[in-house]
Amino acid sequence: MNVLLQLAFEFFKTGIFTVGGGLASLPFLYDISDRMGWYTRSELVDMIAIAESTPGPIGANMATFAGYKAGGLLGSIIASVSLIVGPMILVLIIANFLEKFKTNKHVQAVFYGLRPAVAGLITAACYGVMAITLFSVDALKSGDILGFINLKACALFAVMLWAVMKFKKHPVVYIAICAVLGILVKF
């Protein structure tokens, strides 16, 4: 079978079975690597680090990489578009349903429970990012209590949080400032 068709098929399948965000596609990407040999497992591990640190949805980053390895530029486009087609169809069906039943009392009740849960999920995810950015758990394990808190990072975090709440500029402004400071100061 043509490589591009295979790519489309494999990533369409991955998209449908990835539930819970991009990293959930990882087992499927390993499986594709084993069966198809488009990329190695160690290439994939490097790619996770890049996918997590460059902008964009992690799943789309991974699919683009795998697609590029298998079929060049066209491969990268086909893989990432195939990944999103299945879920998009499903979301459109749900969205249609949602518009019709939005004012329904029971649907409202379900969302009453979902909204605090979303805030909680994001709080937990934020805790994960803060744990590696502002604190060093490794230093604590080796008994280095002073090394546990990254003071420079915490100070910048406090200033940034104040600025974000006060000035309400576009998020890119803060990202750019911190990128430049990161290169100059080294956190």
Binding site: K105, G120, L156
Partner: protein
């Protein structure tokens, strides 16, 4: 400007400036979709985000599809979803083509260390907004606290968490409604 182009460009910006996956997209979504263009409300965003968690696919793309569809139907959804993944295709293809050991370059690693700090601050400010919008009474606070605790300290799947919270909301309103 054409609304479809606007959707595409807006989600192109969101995709191109989201570091760290779907959840860090929230500050960008609030800025572009709620404050700048008024395509949806803060409450809509939370609903879409919750549904985006438990439907298959990428959370960012699912949320984009919901917002695009609400604004301009299926074509709007396609524009928004393609917009959100296009920066990935461009950036990752360039990295895969030209740069070996990209994250090991010192300047890149240092810049990302700085960016992560900005991301922390942006997410915290988003959480404050979400908290104010979604947690208005005691039962809601308990759901918030339980979800936060479970997600930090256990490996429980977010899908289970979302389904459980939905059921809890339904039950609380059913009991409260009978009084």
């Amino acid at each position: 400007m054409n609304i479809y182009l606007q959707l595409f460009l807006s989600f192109f910006r969101i995709g191109g400036l989201t570091f760290g996956g779907g959840y860090s997209m929230m500050p960008m979504l609030q800025k572009e979709c709620v404050e700048k263009f008024g395509w949806c409300t803060e409450g809509d965003l939370m609903d879409y985000y919750a549904l985006g968690q438990c439907t298959p696919g990428l959370i960012a793309v699912n949320t984009a599809t919901f917002i695009g569809n609400k604004t301009k139907g299926i074509l709007g959804a396609i524009c928004a979803a393609l917009g959100v993944i296009t920066p990935s295709i461009i950036i990752i293809t360039i990295i895969a083509m030209f740069i070996d050991g990209f994250i090991d370059i010192p300047a890149v690693a240092n810049a990302f260390a700085g960016i992560r700090i900005a991301v922390c601050a942006l997410i915290v400010s988003s959480i404050i907004k979400l908290y104010k919008g979604g947690v208005k009474d005691m039962p809601a606070f308990i759901i918030f606290a339980v979800v936060t605790f479970l997600s930090i300290f256990t490996d429980v799947s977010p899908i289970l968490v979302v389904v459980g919270a939905g059921v809890a909301g339904f039950a609380i309103k059913a009991v409260g409604g009978k009084k």
